[in-house]
Symmetry: C2
Subunit: 272 residues, 2 copies
């Protein structure tokens, strides 16, 4: 470990290949993405074949020798780089000195649905990667068994989304790219009641709870923060539900609305 | 309106005075803060004496003539500035051309408590202004009747907090700066059960609901995202409650945890 060569040039082919993964087109081609920090490395190591390459700095190696050893034992190439190169790769202000190149981990929709999940989260037309990552983290916490990003949503492998998910991207089956038109039918076919969360809903979340609706296996659909869900989606779901606003706020942000809806389902499914 | 002079220099005394309000020390001295965009101007105009000065661009004046007229009719100085000066003042990437200089609107703790509120939100040791603003917006939506920032928390008049609150800073009584040591006693004195939200809590939120605890008038205390609430606080509250984690996420972020707790109280207080 101590004798490892250090890559100090941004023009090194391995560094250039990793840097390109900041762009969606290259991620798609290579089916790999970047995840920074010791937690991400730990998560990726738990998935067989999940960690493709590990970039480290000398300092991070001495702080996390167990992770470097585990990567080497798993046959993962470990590349030591200078602090300057790491700063370029990590896309964060204070890089943590460990950067994982990970294999894509999304699964087909059929795989996510075959275990007959009781709580599923759908992100439709969500464009802000930070919001998407926070919803992913919240969905994981609330016991959602899968998170589905429709084709019009942000890429879950976007660096900001990976960071905001705080590891949850690795925790539960993520589905990428289904078209909404066919997705709703597939969700219903899997026995799920499809509920859209939207300020335009006639039924409040409390009414949905009181009516026993949330005790059913449910797929929650969350839309774009600025303009909600388009009519074509609202028409095809089983119901449109709004989180009640008791004060004078005009709306809730996407991640907080999702938290309230998903935790309401978690409670309803466990107490009914 | 058309004949108004345009200030084009960052060295103009009025512009310099407004720019200084980006710093907390100057805000405290002047007891004024900055809020950007048409919504903020509308909110500030609704509070008698709330709008101290209005900076506009020619373009924004033609887009929002009603706001400029309303400000002038209220005797508020309207200052037209160039796009370049507005960009400096607004601290945002795409400034909206309207910037309100507002008078501080926080109230003493005794004022916030004298109406015997049933739901109060306390931010203790919260340092990230974006998180604080999102909690303020969520508290407003959930019907919290007051939001209290302790002396160790971020300044609610920080530009990022004002923006993230999406107008809610103007909607409900905000209290700034009480020390936690005396605050808890004052909240209890006002008939409030003081609950801390913390991952270390023995009682889950569901247990608190089932036990009828949330039907009581409640002050929720939320702490710093990274290290939760200090022991000195946890010892003095009536109970420490944790939001259950059903999946593999390690924790929830501050704003989503607050959303789940506050909406649980809103529902419990309305259905019991």
């Amino acid at each position: 470990m101590a004798g490892r060569d250090e890559l100090t040039s941004l023009r090194s082919p391995r560094v250039k290949a990793a840097r390109r993964l900041a762009k969606r087109a290259f991620r798609r081609r290579e089916r790999r993405f970047l995840a920074e920090g010791p937690q991400a490395v730990r998560e990726a190591l738990e998935i067989p074949g999940g960690l493709a390459e590990l970039f480290t700095t000398a300092e991070a190696e001495s702080r996390h020798p167990e992770l470097v050893t585990a990567a080497e034992q798993a046959g993962v190439p470990v590349l030591r780089v200078s602090g300057e190169v790491m700063a370029e790769l990590a896309q964060t202000v204070t890089p943590q000195g460990l950067l994982a190149v990970c294999e894509f981990i999304d699964v087909p929709l059929s795989t996510a649905l075959e275990s007959r999940p009781r709580l599923v989260t759908v992100l439709a037309h969500v464009r802000d990667p930070g919001n998407a990552g926070t919803v992913l983290r919240t969905a994981d916490a609330a016991g959602s068994e899968s998170v589905i990003f429709t084709d019009a949503s942000v890429d879950p492998y976007n660096g900001k989304c990976v960071r905001a998910s705080a590891g949850s991207l690795f925790h539960l089956p993520v589905v990428v790219g289904p078209r909404f038109e066919t997705l709703i039918a597939d969700l219903k076919q899997a026995g799920l009641t499809v509920l859209a969360a939207d300020g335009a809903g006639k039924r409040t979340l409390d009414e949905a709870i009181d009516d026993g609706l949330l005790a059913e296996p449910t797929a929650w659909v969350f839309g774009n923060e600025a303009w909600g869900l388009p009519d074509e989606i609202l028409r095809h779901v089983d119901d449109v539900v709004r989180v009640p606003i008791y004060g004078r706020a005009e709306s809730l942000n996407l991640a907080t609305a999702a938290a309230v809806c998903l935790y309401a389902s978690a409670r309803a499914q466990r107490t009914s």
